[in-house]
Symmetry: C2
């Protein structure tokens, strides 16, 4: 199936690699404009309170303060990133009436320097009426709980009920049934670069915004919406971005809105950067979920029925949550085949920071539950954990109960690979005391065609243009926030054109220049922007080939563009460089630019474009004295379709293992009465270099007909398998089932104690 | 001929007006990049010397100095902006062997701040061998004069001989013949913003340069050339520019080269800004010319023969000079009709800064001579100065001796207008003692198709793209340096599309993004870039009209795009907004971007696209005691074709009167032994607000079939008439003929004395 490629599949260094490694890359915070002001946001110290009055008189009077804004200075538009239902809009980007979590934005100031801005914040006097607060989602859902939003009687943010097939009947007749409850925690995105925004409202009433975001195009749309501007008045430019992980994907952050508003009010550019604490408490987090799961299998180990209930801690606002509660449910219909499936999810409002999208967006939590429970069932029924997964592994050509059409799947091969590389059958159960192996798996979609809002498209579009020197410019609003899409899209364009990659430039998102693309979420860029770029490049090629044909005295239909050359099929020595032919195409055009343009929208708008699969094996050692778990090795296999850049896929695989290791073992933003106890890198534990195990990274590339050159995704699906693999390995090592994340030494020690007590 | 327009012909405020007026506009010097260094250039203190040795040891050792470069650190490529002859390249952007004027660039440093850079310059030790120097062009051309360049035996930079018709025969048989000599001076461009450049060589071996230039596209090409890079490695971005006037049009300035080289050497961005003195001595100037002119007329006052010789003070290098010496000659075949014409021009090297292009590029000097001499002839033959001009005025349909095809001309109407507005026939000669009226005229070409270099095109190209919000982006490498082309090009696009101008954005030159355009010189942008933008917009319109037709249930051929709407011809109430139709065009395309692209190259590649004409009347008062001349009023009429923006045309007309007033009356960079005596705004006299006379500005728009919507040029041709009009008015007032510029009080007093002596 796979073709011969000259650029695709090559380990091209990242376009931004050197600039970032040498410190030359300019991030949003590095931008400096004449007369720029520093902005800061005043955040609520209370978890739930009514705002009675805000007195900004003294702040405004402070020398050096150029603007102070509160909710009263806004249009008072309720906002949410999702708008397929109007009622999702439940947040003011500056509080109007109430604050709903510690960290809710209340006012913002712009001043000549950071110190003055901070002093001004201290001078803003807010009179609050403290309201009763609720922090636990199950408590919040109970009758009589404090009501967080007027529109939601029982603090329900959204409920989702899905049912496919006769769950109750099949469960009743199942060979073996198992029921468990799992708990996941607050994980923070912790990008290297926190949120940052520079906004400049120019005297021509146009607003230019540089912001550290995954979704520059949507930021443009949303700023226009909340500020009451025309779309065309807002321009969003994407500087280098130091990581997003979903935390920069959920629409406007307070600082985008506040910096813009402060610039409008002051007539000067305004910069706002979040410090690390503000990054922890003033942005989003992964949903903590309580998952009840019941699974029935038949005699062959095949899942005949699965019944799931989730309670999700949504925090004070919807954000992406109304999608998250759906996604947990539908992502759970991957990577295994079910005969029936029921999902009942409830996202509850609580007086904590909103939970939203984070790398995997509901899948890691669900997969944690799913793959541990499958392991338990395997144990209970005497089936090998590898075998039970193989028996249920989705294959190409299948359609899941939720309607996902699996066009390609090397899932089974991934399982075989990790089994083989870990010497599973030779070593499992034979590693001696306190050592163990465990496996976890994942399936993940790439790129959704689902229309999140009536006013925006779902497609990715791209323009590819030949410069008069023969080099190529690729214009796309796709957002490379560190995941490497700039490089992949450049490779795709170069491959399609037959150009040398060094003669192709990728033009980063600038909404005045680059055509619409919703940005980097739901693992959409490779497939969506990639297909758009590929098609736009094909349009350009159509214009260049006839020129090369003239040069080579051949028929355009007989030409091949490959590896920097255009040559006659069969006689590769009859060739011209792409650069020369491209340059000539403009010359024969008498200077008329050679441009190609295209868009990609998936065939099934309600579903996803492609699906990836993976498996990981963890090897761990448990210290029975301290409960400390050492993850010795992680072996990951991933089917991301054709690897446009194998180095990028492996980087994503390894990077996601690192983030998943934190999810599994240590990361936990801990709350007390709605206050984060550890909003600091000194107390929120991201795995360091010495905690990182050895990794083995295996690509099991498939060819997906819907992906550009067969590509799918890498880096998001790969977050899923790590935590269950580790938990299952801990069971193999120590006989304890860890169903609550993170798996701290304290929890392990407690489980070991309970196990000992049970045995005793 | 003229059509009905909705945007063209409207007094739209400049796009950059508010930003510049409020101080928000970011110029090159406002740019700040992480780790940016400050660069400075060491310039020769000697007019002519051999460089024996440059010791940079101490400079390099100074803490804070990050790079020091001399000619030895370069590829040693000889450079010139013109390259249709290889031999024109006579300048090293950092001296290799010799220095040829005080101010020649010898070394450059980059340091952490300006003070350190200055200290480092002081530590560079240059050993020179002083060579004899020559400063006067006629002295330089004499045998035995010091030789400035090895390749030029008699210090001839370039000689041009043109001859059309039987000059000697017609001169011999002429009714009246007159012979005079005229002298013009060193005028400096003095842009508000001096030269400025920021260069950043990135670790991916790509060089990004922001520079205050008229020719971003050529700067890209030339930096690649002199630095030995591929074209595609260099990206030039045009920030706001505070004036050029030709002084930023002659290829690379030392600072473009030095900032780039220092960035390459240091691995950090480097900023170089010229201070005011450096701007005077380290850049170019208008050619001082000695013009001998002999003109014969017939009984009807028609010019039958004109014979001209020019000696031009070229300074140390060619720069644009090889073109200038040609242009003085060919521009003199405008605005009057000749029966025969001879021109012999010699540009001499001297040990002074190079002379090059400045607003009018040879025309103002020639017109000064031509229009005074015509005035003298009129006086001597008893023909009214207005009449003699009307009898010789070029008309539409004529082809000049040099081959200029005049497609449109309201020249005669311009003369009539200024005669009428000045009440010429009523007031001329009747203003009382020491008051007088004088007239001067001009003709000027707009946009040359002449290929200055074999490796670059001559066309302008443009891309017009619809954004998915229906707004329009116009991408062009045309360079608005203050003359207003951004606004005009936007108006042209809006008119062609029928879009509201506020829904159109002009994207300024960025060679990675905007298609090729040679930039702003030879008054080419309105006609060249304008035609390209118009044609690209027409391509877009072709894609939008069918969508509107669908909406309106009409035939696309029956639709009119006008004034923000697309409507059915004859039933304007059947309409849809352009914005809506444009947005829809992308929707029906399923997101495929709507893009139009086009290029413009004039039909006659060896000549110009269009020609403009104008006339001015000056009213002056001469103080016989002091010699001080007060210019009381300037009345200017200009045929610039259709005024795309009347306010812009009037602004150009008034602005050029101001610059021409300085040329006429006060601006003179004075030299002593090759040193400028007054390189400062305190001693180089630009007319201030109180010296500026009242002005009356009259547009006499024609419709030129070659111009976009009939437009030609304004602002360059208009510099010509002022000086001769003033000189002729002085004759009318005081009976003295001022043939040397500037017309200082000292010269006037001397002439008055000589006249008195002659009379006595």
């Amino acid at each position: 199936m796979a073709e011969e490629f000259s650029v695709v599949g090559k380990r091209l260094p990242r376009l931004d690699g050197l600039a970032k490694a040498t410190g030359q890359a300019a991030f949003t915070g590095d931008l400096n404009l004449p007369r720029i002001l520093q902005g800061k946001i005043l955040r609520s110290p209370l978890a739930h309170a009514r705002i009675l009055n805000i007195d900004t008189t003294r702040a405004r009077a402070l020398p050096g303060v150029k603007a102070v804004v509160t909710g009263k200075d806004t249009l008072g538009r309720r906002y949410n990133v999702l708008r397929f239902k109007e009622s999702f809009a439940d947040e003011y980007l500056l509080a109007m009436d109430k604050v709903r979590f510690i960290g809710d934005a209340v006012a913002a100031v712009a001043a000549v320097d950071e110190e003055t801005a901070q002093d001004a914040l201290d001078l803003v006097k807010v009179d609050y009426e403290v309201l009763p607060a609720v922090f636990d989602p199950e408590e919040a859902l109970k009758p009589g709980a404090p009501r967080i939003h007027d529109h939601s009687e029982n603090n329900v943010s959204r409920r989702i009920n899905l049912e496919f097939g006769d769950v109750d009947g099949l469960m009743a007749s199942a060979y073996h049934v198992r029921e468990d409850t799992f708990v996941t925690q607050s994980q923070s995105h912790v990008p290297m670069e926190g949120h940052a925004c520079v906004a400049s409202f120019e005297p021509n009433s146009r607003l230019t915004v540089w912001t550290s975001t995954q979704i520059p195009y949507l930021i443009k749309k949303d700023l226009a919406l909340v500020l009451g501007l025309e779309d065309s008045q807002v321009r969003v430019i994407l500087p280098y971005v130091g990581g997003g992980f979903g935390g920069k994907s959920d629409g406007l952050a307070n600082l985008d809105f506040c910096a813009s508003l402060l610039s409008i009010k002051s007539g000067r550019p305004v910069r706002i950067l979040y410090g690390r604490e503000e990054e922890f408490i003033g942005t989003r987090r992964r949903h903590p979920i309580r998952i009840w799961m019941k699974t029935g299998i038949d005699r062959e180990g095949r899942i005949v029925a699965r019944d799931v209930r989730c309670i999700m801690d949504g925090g004070g606002y919807n954000s992406y949550g109304p999608a998250s509660v759906l996604l947990v449910g539908i992502f759970l219909n991957l990577p295994y085949r079910y005969q029936s499936y029921r999902y009942r999810g409830t996202r509850a409002y609580t007086n904590k920071p909103p939970s939203a999208a984070m790398r995997g967006h509901g899948a890691p939590q669900g997969h944690f539950a799913s793959d541990i429970q499958l392991d338990i069932i395997a144990k209970e029924t005497g089936i090998d954990p590898i075998d039970i997964r193989l028996r249920n592994a989705l294959e190409a050509g299948e359609t899941t109960l939720a309607g996902f059409k699996i066009l390609s799947s090397n899932f089974a091969a991934c399982i075989h690979e990790v089994a083989q590389k870990s010497e599973w059958h030779e070593r499992k159960g034979k590693l001696g005391a306190n050592r163990g192996l465990g496996i976890g798996c994942s399936g993940f979609p790439a790129g959704t065609g689902f229309r999140q809002r009536p006013d925006i498209p779902t497609y990715s579009s791209a323009v590819v243009r030949i410069n008069d020197d023969g080099s190529v410019a690729v214009l796309s609003s796709a957002a490379d926030t560190g995941q490497g899409s700039d490089t992949l899209l450049l490779q795709i364009a170069a491959e399609e054109l037959g150009a040398n990659p060094e003669d192709v430039k990728f033009i980063r998102a600038d909404t005045d220049l680059t055509p619409a693309d919703l940005g980097n979420y739901a693992s959409r860029e490779t497939v969506f922007a990639g297909n758009a770029v590929k098609a736009a490049a094909a349009e350009v090629k159509k214009q260049v080939l006839p020129v090369a044909a003239e040069e080579l005295e051949a028929n355009p239909a007989d030409l091949v563009a490959f590896g920097g050359f255009i040559y006659v099929r069969g006689t590769p020595e009859r060739r011209v460089t792409f650069l020369k032919a491209a340059k000539k195409a403009i010359e024969v055009n008498k200077g008329r630019p050679v441009v190609g343009e295209a868009a990609y929208d998936p065939p099934d708008k309600m579903n996803y474009a492609t699906y990836t699969f993976g498996a990981q094996v963890a090897e761990v050692e448990v210290d029975p004295e301290t409960g400390h778990v050492t993850v010795i090795k992680l072996i990951g296999a991933h089917d991301g379709g054709t690897a446009i850049n194998p180095m990028a896929v492996e980087g994503q695989l390894e990077g996601s293992m690192h983030m998943a290791l934190g999810f599994a073992m240590s990361e936990d933003l801990v709350w007390e009465d709605g206050a984060a106890l550890n909003p600091s890198l000194a107390s929120y534990f991201i795995p360091g270099p010495f905690e990182m195990p050895r990794t083995e990274l295996i690509r099991v590339d498939s060819w997906d007909p819907e992906g550009p050159f067969g590509a799918k995704e890498a880096g998001e699906g790969t977050v899923g398998p790590t935590a269950p693999a580790i938990a299952n390995a801990i069971f193999d090592a120590a006989g304890i089932r860890m169903k609550s994340l993170p798996i701290t030494a304290e929890k392990v020690l407690k489980a070991l104690g309970e196990k000992g007590a049970g045995k005793a």
